[in-house]
C-alpha cells in the first residue's frame, strides 16, 4: 500500500465552480461556487452542510463523474479530468452487482483496472473481505446480506483498488442508528490499518466529528466553504468519545454554522 509523506497536499481544489443543466426544470443549476480546500496526504476530511448544498456534487466532481465549470481540481498535482484508478468511491447506495458473489463484487474494481491477474485479484479481494470483517461470506450474493454488510462490501471494493484518495458519499445514511454507529467504529479501525487519504460526505454532524481529522462546513447552495474545523480529539477513538465535553463543543461549533446556513437558506422563502 502506498504510504504518502505526511503533510503533503493530496487533493487541491481552487475556486471550484460546478454548474449543470437540469433537464427537468429546464434551467442551469449552480451547485457549487468558489470552493477552496486542500486535503493533506493521509488526512481524513469530512464535509458537512445543509441538505442540497452541493456536497455530493462536489464529491462526484472529485471522482471525475461530472465536469467542473470553473476553477481547478487536482490530485497529487495532476488535474482531475475524469474517473481514474487513483480514486475510488464508496457510494451511498451499495451499488453492488446483484448477480455477483461478494468475492466477485470486491474484485470488480480490480477487474476493470486489469492490472492484476485473476488469481491475484481474487487473493487481494479475500484480504479486503477479511479486513472489513466479512470472511465466510465470500460466496454469498448481495441480496442475502443486510444493509450494513452490503456497505462493507462496497467499502472493500473501493479499498481493494488501492486508491490514492478514498471518497465516501454518505455511506451509512441508509443504515439504522445502531448499525450506523457500529459501522463508524469499524470504518475508523479499517482506516487506521490502510491510512488512506479520505473525503467523507455526511449530513450527520456527530459522524463527521467522530471520524474526521478536519470537518469542513459547506454553505447553503451554491455550496462553498463556510468553516474549517480541526478536530483535535485523540485517536484511536471509541464511541464513548461522542459524549465527552470536548466533542460536544465541536458539535456546537459545527451546528451553529449549519444553523446559520439553514436560516439563510430559508429567508428568501419567508420574504417572497
Amino acid at each position: 500500500m502506498t504510504q504518502p509523506a505526511a503533510g503533503g497536499v493530496k487533493l487541491s481544489a481552487r475556486g471550484v465552480r460546478i454548474e449543470y443543466w437540469q433537464e427537468r426544470s429546464r434551467r442551469s443549476f449552480l451547485a457549487v461556487e468558489g470552493v477552496d480546500l486542500d486535503v493533506r496526504a493521509g488526512e481524513f476530511v469530512a464535509i458537512v452542510g445543509p441538505s442540497g448544498c452541493g456536497k455530493t456534487t462536489f464529491l462526484n466532481a472529485v471522482d471525475g463523474l461530472i465536469p467542473i465549470s470553473g476553477g481547478s481540481l487536482s490530485l497529487g498535482g495532476r488535474p482531475i479530468k475524469g474517473p481514474s484508478h487513483d480514486r475510488a468511491m464508496v457510494f451511498q447506495h451499495p451499488s453492488l452487482l446483484p448477480w455477483r458473489t461478494v468475492l466477485a463484487n470486491v474484485a470488480y474494481g480490480l477487474e476493470i483496472q486489469g492490472k492484476l491477474s485473476r488469481g491475484q485479484s481474487r487473493e487481494r479481494s479475500r484480504d479486503y473481505i477479511r479486513l472489513v470483517g466479512l470472511d465466510g461470506f465470500e460466496d454469498h450474493f448481495p441480496l442475502e446480506l443486510s444493509g450494513g454488510m452490503q456497505q462493507r462490501v462496497n467499502l472493500a471494493r473501493a479499498l481493494a483498488t488501492d486508491p490514492e484518495l478514498l471518497l465516501l458519499d454518505e455511506p451509512f445514511a441508509a443504515l439504522d442508528a445502531q448499525t450506523r454507529e457500529y459501522m463508524q467504529l469499524e470504518l475508523l479501525r479499517i482506516w487506521r490499518q490502510t491510512r488512506k487519504t479520505a473525503v467523507f460526505i455526511t449530513h450527520d454532524i456527530k459522524e463527521a466529528i467522530y471520524l474526521a481529522d478536519r470537518v469542513i462546513v459547506f454553505t447553503a447552495r451554491p455550496g462553498r466553504v463556510k468553516l474549517t474545523l480541526e478536530i483535535g480529539l485523540p485517536r484511536p477513538r471509541d464511541l464513548r468519545l461522542k459524549r465527552t465535553p470536548a466533542f460536544v463543543e465541536y458539535e456546537d461549533t459545527v451546528w451553529s454554522a449549519i444553523e446559520e446556513e439553514s436560516m439563510l437558506g430559508r429567508t428568501p422563502v419567508a420574504v417572497s
Binding site: D63, G64, L65, P83, S84, H85, A88, M89, F91, H93, S95, L97, P98, W99, R100, Y108, G109, E111, I112, Q113, G133, L134, G136, F137, H140, F141, P142, L143, E144, L145, S146, G148, M149, T161, T179, Y182
Partner: protein, 280 residues
C-alpha cells in the same frame, strides 16, 4: 466484532454456515412432489378421457380415445414419410428461430444501447409488432414459395420481435447506480457492456426467447396449414380435413410437446441465471 457480524446476519437469516439451512429440510420425496402431482393429474385426465370415449357419449369421429391416438402413432411411424415431415418442420423452426436469435439479439442490444438507432428503427418495430404478423403468411408464401423458406420467414417474423423488444427493454432498464459505479471505477464502454449490460439484461432476453418459442410454433403450424409440401403441421391439417381424428390429435400433441420441451429448457436457463435472487 465477530459477534456483531453474526448479529447482523441473523436479520437476514444468511449466516456463514450454509448447512444451517438444512435444518428442517423436508424429506427427499418432497423434492419430486411438483412432478408427481403433475404426472398424477395428467394420468387422471387420460383415464377420464378414455372412459368418456369408451362410453361413446360423443361419436368416435369427433373424439378419439387416447388408445386410438396411440394406434395412430404406431401407424404413423411405420411409414418412413413421417421422418421427412419431422425433418421439414424441425428445419423450419430451427432456421426461423435461430435466425431470429442471431439477428434479434444483437439488434435489441444495439437499439437499447444507442438511442439514435432506437429512434430510427422504432417506427418499423412499432408497425410490425402491432401487426398480426401471421396475416402476412399468404404474402410470404407468394414471395418465398411453398417450400421451407416461406415457413422460415413466418417463424422468423414471429420470434424476431419479442426477442428484439425484450432484449432492448433489458438494456434500457439497467440500474443507473450500477452504471455510475462502473464509470467511477474507470470502466470503458466495452467493459460496462460486458460486466453490467449483458448480465443485467439476461432475464429480459430469456423472457423474449420464451415468447419467441410460442410465436415460432404458431408460425410453423399456420404456415404449413396454408401451403406446404411436408411437415407436421401439414400432416395435422391433412388429417383433420379428412376427418382422420386420431392422426390429427397425434400430430397436435407432438407440436405441443415440442413447445413444452423448449419452454422447460428456457425455464431451466432462467433459474440458472437467477441463482442470486433470494428464494432460489
Amino acid at each position: 466484532m465477530k459477534a456483531a457480524i453474526e448479529a447482523e446476519a441473523v436479520d437476514t437469516a444468511a449466516g456463514p454456515q450454509r448447512q444451517s439451512r438444512a435444518v428442517g429440510r423436508p424429506p427427499a420425496l418432497a423434492a419430486y412432489q411438483p412432478a408427481l402431482l403433475g404426472a398424477l393429474s395428467v394420468l387422471v385426465f387420460l383415464v377420464a378421457w378414455q372412459l368418456i370415449a369408451a362410453a361413446r357419449v360423443v361419436p368416435a369421429l369427433f373424439l378419439p380415445a387416447p388408445t386410438d391416438i396411440a394406434d395412430a402413432y404406431r401407424q404413423m411411424f411405420r411409414d418412413p414419410e413421417i421422418w421427412l415431415d419431422l425433418e421439414t418442420s424441425g428445419m423450419e423452426v430451427g432456421y426461423g428461430f435461430g435466425l431470429a436469435i442471431l439477428i434479434g439479439l444483437p439488434l435489441g442490444i444495439l437499439m437499447g444501447w444507442y438511442r439514435p438507432l432506437r429512434l430510427a428503427l422504432d417506427p418499423f418495430v412499432a408497425f410490425f409488432y402491432s401487426t398480426p404478423r401471421i396475416a402476412l403468411t399468404p404474402l410470404l408464401i407468394i414471395w418465398f414459395g411453398i417450400g421451407i423458406y416461406s415457413k422460415v420467414a413466418v417463424i422468423f417474423l414471429g420470434a424476431f420481435f419479442p426477442i428484439t423488444i425484450n432484449t432492448m427493454a433489458g438494456i434500457r432498464s439497467l440500474d443507473p447506480l450500477l452504471l455510475q459505479a462502473a464509470r467511477s471505477f474507470g470502466a470503458r464502454d466495452a467493459q460496462i457492456f460486458r460486466t453490467i449490460a449483458l448480465p443485467g439484461s439476461v432475464p429480459f432476453i430469456l423472457t423474449g426467447l420464451r415468447l419467441g418459442v410460442g410465436h415460432a410454433l404458431i408460425g410453423v403450424v399456420v404456415g404449413e396449414l396454408i401451403a406446404a409440401q411436408h411437415g407436421i403441421g401439414k400432416r395435422m391439417s391433412d388429417a383433420f380435413t379428412t376427418f382422420n381424428m386420431p392422426t390429427g390429435f397425434a400430430a397436435l400433441i407432438m407440436i405441443a410437446a415440442t413447445g413444452v420441451v423448449l419452454t422447460v429448457v428456457i425455464q431451466r436457463l432462467e433459474r440458472r441465471f437467477d441463482a442470486w435472487r433470494p428464494g432460489n
